[in-house]
């Protein structure tokens, strides 16, 4: 990401790097240990679903809105899922107002890919009239406080907001008209991806980097893992390189951490993943 926020004392950076050589981190965590993850669901009543996720002091708020619209021409019988990310200026001193920049777009697309490729939402079930009208699910994520590891926190907030979401039940008349009913239903979800970002600092692999640690990362890779441990999206970001062996190592870490987070944070939300499906 941009250079502007890399205002961390050289001595702190040195402490981080030296500490990792002894397998310790400045905040006392293990190398493969996340900061505490807390979630608050449904706090935006006007959204169909919402989730506020904190990983340590990093805070992401995601809202889900559902509208009707036209399908993509090449997928006439599928609903539409779109993910948008805003790095709003209240979240960090170097964020500026304006249309999403490169970092926000990358963030949105990495979260989008995790949801889309894992087929988290069964889009075929969101078709109203093929080729004409489908449901469009907007997942809008706002970074509220940037204290490191935006990818994992954003992906988590987005999948939680979808799990939290309800849409109005509906029927389609023979004439192809949409009629809403008085009840609500859950979204047609079928996968629950968790994104884990593994960073390389020196020769050490760590997860959930803090803002200070992010100033000394050599290379990082974000891996989205679905509920059957399948890999559904990968994005290497930041400068620097990995060896093939290091990628294998990162993959193992990602599978382990994703399973852990899914069990601890996602299970039971909105009645999903309670072991019954």
């Amino acid at each position: 990401m941009s250079d502007a926020y890399k205002i961390v004392a050289k001595i702190t950076q040195k402490q981080i790097v030296d500490g990792l050589q002894q397998n310790t981190r400045l905040d006392g965590r293990g190398l493969l240990e996340y900061r505490p993850i807390t979630t608050e669901l449904g706090l935006i009543e006007k959204a169909s679903g919402s989730a506020l996720v904190s990983i340590g002091k990093t805070k992401i708020l995601t809202g889900v809105k559902i509208e009707t619209g036209e399908p993509y021409p090449d997928r006439p019988d599928e609903g539409v899922l779109t993910v948008n990310a805003e790095l709003i200026p209240l979240a960090a001193p170097d964020y500026e107002p304006g249309p999403p920049g490169e970092d926000a777009i990358e963030l949105a697309r990495v979260v989008d890919r995790g949801l889309r490729e894992s087929k988290a939402v069964d889009l075929k079930k969101l078709c109203i009239v093929p080729g004409k009208q489908v449901f469009v699910i907007f997942v809008d994520l706002n970074v509220l406080d940037h204290r490191g590891n935006l990818f994992d926190a954003s992906a988590l907030a987005s999948v939680l907001a979808l799990m939290n979401a309800e849409m109005q039940a509906y029927t389609v008349t023979k004439g192809g008209e949409l009629k809403y009913r008085d009840s609500t239903v859950r979204l047609p979800l079928q996968n629950f991806p968790v994104e884990v970002t593994v960073a390389k600092i020196g020769d050490k692999m760590v997860v959930d980097t803090s803002l200070e640690e992010e100033t000394v990362i050599d290379a990082q890779i974000t891996i989205a893992i679905g509920k059957d441990d399948e890999v559904c999206a990968v994005q290497k970001s930041l400068f620097g390189t990995f060896s093939q062996e290091e990628i294998h190592q990162a993959l193992e870490i990602a599978v382990e951490k994703a399973t852990e987070i899914r069990a601890k944070v996602l299970r039971g939300v909105g009645g999903w993943l309670d072991g019954s499906e």
Partner: protein, 257 residues
């Protein structure tokens, strides 16, 4: 896992839609320095992909505040011409193009010795004239040739190639149909002398074992493409090994641009 509607098979009797074997690359032709005004340039044909790359710099940076006191400011722009795709692509940069510009920059920058040119800017402009799947890999491969053509000092070339999964099988270098109807795509870029991976993306669904297999196959593809890069540079600047020269000529076929 959702299976594709079993209408059209992507592999029939071990042969892919464009006649290739599963681990076979498409034809690759690289021209060094086709552009007059640019400081360095390259043109690559990779299957039906046709991509031009221009490098400007090291030169003054605009806007000036982007200049770095300790190194060159390195920028990439990946852009698709409106006529490069089946449906006309709107000329304004899409979210995809903005992301690909970023990952291309990240893939190339580790190779460039930017610290030799403080306060300057180096720009890479990638224009996709025709796309047929795998444009980011072709663009990165051509960019490092254009950078070499511009005389920008580099630690290594950067070479890219993708692997993926179609019809349940891990294959090399997906074309557009395979990318759209296949199960996964894994583009990879490396600096071949050290083997350092500077780009790695993936979309689709793969088991961890399949992912490792695809990564290994893509790395193997990178090594093959690296040979084409070296041949192109030798052909332009050095006394190329004549046996290689002949081989290189037969690869491109059509020399008309």
């Amino acid at each position: 896992m959702a299976k594709k509607a079993a209408s059209e098979k992507l592999i029939r009797k071990g042969v892919r839609t464009d006649g290739r074997k599963p681990t076979e690359l498409r034809n690759i032709r690289i021209d060094v320095g086709p552009l007059e005004r640019a400081d360095g340039s390259a043109y690559i044909e990779w299957g039906k992909n046709k991509i031009l790359v221009a490098v400007y710099g090291p030169r003054e940076v605009h806007p000036r505040h982007l200049a770095r006191p300790d190194r060159a400011f390195f920028r990439c722009r990946y852009h698709m011409a409106p006529f490069s795709t089946a449906e006309r692509k709107r000329p304004a940069p899409s979210r995809r193009e903005i992301e690909l510009s970023k990952v291309t920059r990240v893939a190339l920058e580790p190779a460039i010795i930017t610290e030799l040119f403080p306060r300057t800017g180096i720009d890479v402009f990638i224009e996709v004239l025709q796309s047929d799947g795998g444009t980011r890999c072709a663009g990165i491969t051509a960019s490092s040739i254009a950078l070499a053509d511009a005389g920008v000092p580099m630690r290594d070339l950067v070479v890219a190639c993708a692997a993926g999964k179609i019809d349940g099988q891990i294959v090399l270098d997906l074309n557009e149909i395979e990318d759209q109807d296949g199960e996964a795509d894994v583009p990879v870029a490396i600096m071949p002398r050290t083997g350092g991976i500077s780009l790695l993306q993936m979309d689709g669904i793969l088991s961890p074992a399949e992912f490792k297999e695809a990564l290994a196959l893509a790395l193997d593809g990178c090594k093959q493409v690296y040979e084409r890069q070296k041949d192109a540079l030798k052909g332009a600047y050095g006394q190329a090994d004549t046996s290689m020269d002949e081989e290189g000529d037969s690869v491109g076929g059509d020399t008309h641009e």
